[in-house]
Symmetry: C2
Subunit: 452 residues, 2 copies
């Protein structure tokens, strides 16, 4: 797991050392032979003044463009602050349109307007076309450059067309075939063109059953289709089935990683975006609201305990097992919620099987609760020798862990049913609810059973 | 998020209806035109007898092979139980070798031995070659079919070679160039071949700076490289730099999804593998051990509370805030642990920055603790009007949430440092440790400050 990290660290250290020594010719050599992805890691570790210095050392405008698209958005913003806008525009115009649209969408309006004003007409139209689509839709992530041929072209003509016109298309493995209205009618590949008899027209060997997605489709859905059917790219069509762009598999990988990170953070109630690179104050502010629900829930749990204060006064040992009962419930609840949320995200759990899933989690919680309930009841019996008390503790663990299976699965399933992202409130919400249920069950059962 | 799920549900329902009516010709039509990925979802929803019926209706052996590789491993096992072994072997021999090796590795030894015995020599050698490598290494996931050309071949000769010999290679977009010992020396693409002058030798236009991975590299590392550099495939070489296979981007997507699921489940203490499709008993058994540490920790917390029993007897209100203090600590701990574990997995946090990361999480915990500590102290003051008690509650929240930031970041960082997967024990381990710390701090501070 550390090979990549080690390589990066070595690179960062060398660059820092050379920067300190101001060894410009060395630095020039290094930055020009380093992959833009790696260079973006270096930029993450050095101050903005050094970033600008390295950026100026890049000889190739395509390398500059690649670096732009790999940089974190906030680093990109700081970097271009100090570069004349004309030079930024030059770099942007050398980049694939979808990457440019992504960057521009992340800029503050006054900056993006200034850049769009300076861009040449052709690129500008494409970028503005892309900016029309929602950020996280197929339209928003597609590249508008693709190879589209017509169905009457022969294999030979198609190859010639590619040789002449499509030098600069990113990742050209699929060749899309369109009719006279630009509507998608088939797909072929360079592979097939090379193997087919030269005079054979495309329509005789193209595949007509093409997977395609609509411009408005959510990016997560697009990623699922590409992953499910092992595609390298999927064509994007508008409402009239006109081919308008493609989404390539490298973008899909980014989406899958980003969605997984978002789900993980949301489930832990740690916000939507990765906060580790932000300042302490910023990161506290982002995490603060997610704890508020827990705090309110915790206060409710306190009030419930306060309601039983008289009993607690008489039987102080009741307080001893509150933590372990809440803890066990919380853990099972987290297990169930995680399994359900991830199952929904990966399609292994179907939203329509609500009761089947909930029943299963409830049963699992009950079984686990019976086992650990017996164990913890034994501890209580051994420590205090009051059978009714030990029984109460055992029963409370069973109730708490069964409720955990129920709540942990029901909440995300219901949220998904009404189209709310089940990952959002699941984590802290479920564990706080379970605290309330656990203390209520426990103290209610104990005060009822144990003779005071 | 539900388009794919809806489509699948409709398909499953139609198939079930047709199975009930035993409408064989309809079923035959449907299964033969359905993508194997979708058919595998149908198989997940129907009993094994129906699965066999549908399988027999598949006309094309390649379609049968594709279905095999999409099926969940346990469904595959049950399905082939009822099929004569010769027919299973026929299907396997039509499949890409890496998929066959995957399936065979998942079978019980007596079954896999029986199958290997029946396989033809050529395929057998390739499969056994792959089985030698670790399951989750580059060698274990690579496909041994790839296009390798020699550097003196011209563009035209290369195209002819592809037309003649490489009809059946999966996803041929990169063409690897090897020397006389089979060592990897460069890479080209069909794209470049088509565009290059026909008589130009490969060595004049191939790219010599090729990304490659060693057979023993962990699959997660391979996935990182493919994702980082936007590759469609990465060549796998042995210790002598001899090209032995390729890992394609579709396998990388599966790895990324699988690793994300594993991390999520591990963090929640819900095991390594997805248990939702297993029986209630099986799933309980898998989840049981993960709760044991929490249970032990909970019992320790109980003993600590028991130690303060006299004070609790005199001041029953002390018990009232135990739950909310533990809960707030647990939530912040989960936030910190999640951010660090995911940050390490995605490379946004570097393992060498241990103290920087821990200090930051500790500070964030302290800030959040001060805010919520003040809030909860106000509630305590309002309810009981005992200033020393309210102060104790507030201080306990600060201690608990600061400790949460510290433990939540330190534990995964240290685990990563000694090369233990940080996701494994983080979740339940961190929250249980925090319960112990929280009750200790709280009761110690309260008994010290509040005059009895």
């Amino acid at each position: 797991m550390n090979i990549q990290a080690d390589r990066n660290k070595i690179l960062v250290e060398s660059v820092k050392r050379l920067l300190r020594r101001d060894a410009v010719s060395h630095l020039r050599k290094i930055v020009n032979k380093t992959h833009a992805a790696d260079l973006s890691s270096v930029f993450r570790a050095i101050p903005v003044s050094s970033q600008r210095k390295l950026f100026d050392l890049l000889d190739n405008i395509n390398q500059k463009g690649a670096l732009f698209s790999y940089l974190d958005k906030d680093i990109f913003l700081d970097l271009i602050e100090g570069i004349p806008i004309e030079r930024v525009v030059d770099v942007l115009e050398s980049m694939p349109t979808d990457d440019v649209a992504d960057l521009i969408a992340s800029l503050p309006p006054e900056k993006s307007d200034a850049i769009l004003l300076k861009m040449k007409k052709e690129g500008l139209e494409e970028v503005e076309g892309l900016l029309r689509y929602g950020d996280e839709t197929a339209g928003g992530i597609m590249a508008p450059d693709f190879i589209a041929l017509t169905q009457d072209m022969t294999a030979k003509e198609s190859i010639e067309a590619i040789q002449k016109e499509h030098h600069d298309v990113e990742m050209a493995f699929y060749l899309y075939v369109v009719d006279e209205y630009g509507r998608l009618v088939g797909v072929s590949s360079l592979r097939q063109l090379v193997v087919a008899p030269p005079e054979k027209p495309l329509k005789d060997f193209m595949v007509t059953d093409v997977f395609s997605v609509q411009t408005g489709m959510d990016q997560e859905e697009v990623a699922k289709i590409v992953a499910r059917y092992d595609l390298l790219a999927v064509p994007v069509v508008d409402d009239n089935n006109k081919l308008v762009g493609i989404v390539t598999v490298d973008d899909v990988i980014d989406i899958i990683k980003q969605e997984a990170t978002e789900d993980i953070l949301k489930m832990a109630g740690a916000g939507y975006e990765f906060v580790e690179n932000k300042s302490i104050i910023k990161s506290s502010r982002l995490r603060l609201p997610w704890l508020f629900a827990s705090c309110m829930g915790g206060i409710v749990a306190s009030l419930i305990i306060a309601y039983f204060e008289d009993s607690l006064q008489k039987m102080a040992y009741l307080a001893v097992f509150i933590t372990v009962i809440c803890g066990m419930g919380g853990n099972v609840g987290t297990q169930s919620a995680t399994i359900v949320v991830r199952g929904l995200a990966t399609g292994r759990i179907n939203i329509r099987e609500l009761w089947k899933v909930v029943f299963k989690e409830l049963s699992t919680g009950f079984i686990l609760g019976s086992i650990y309930g017996a164990l913890i009841a034994c501890v209580a019996q051994f420590r205090y020798g009051i059978a009714t008390f030990a029984l109460s503790v055992g029963l409370a663990v069973i109730c708490s862990m069964s409720a955990a299976g129920l709540i942990g699965s029901l909440v995300p399933m219901l949220l998904a049913k009404v189209n709310i992202d089940p990952a959002v409130a699941t984590g802290p919400f479920v564990s706080t609810t379970l605290d309330i249920i656990s203390v209520s069950c426990y103290l209610f059962i104990a005060t009822a059973l144990v003779s005071q």
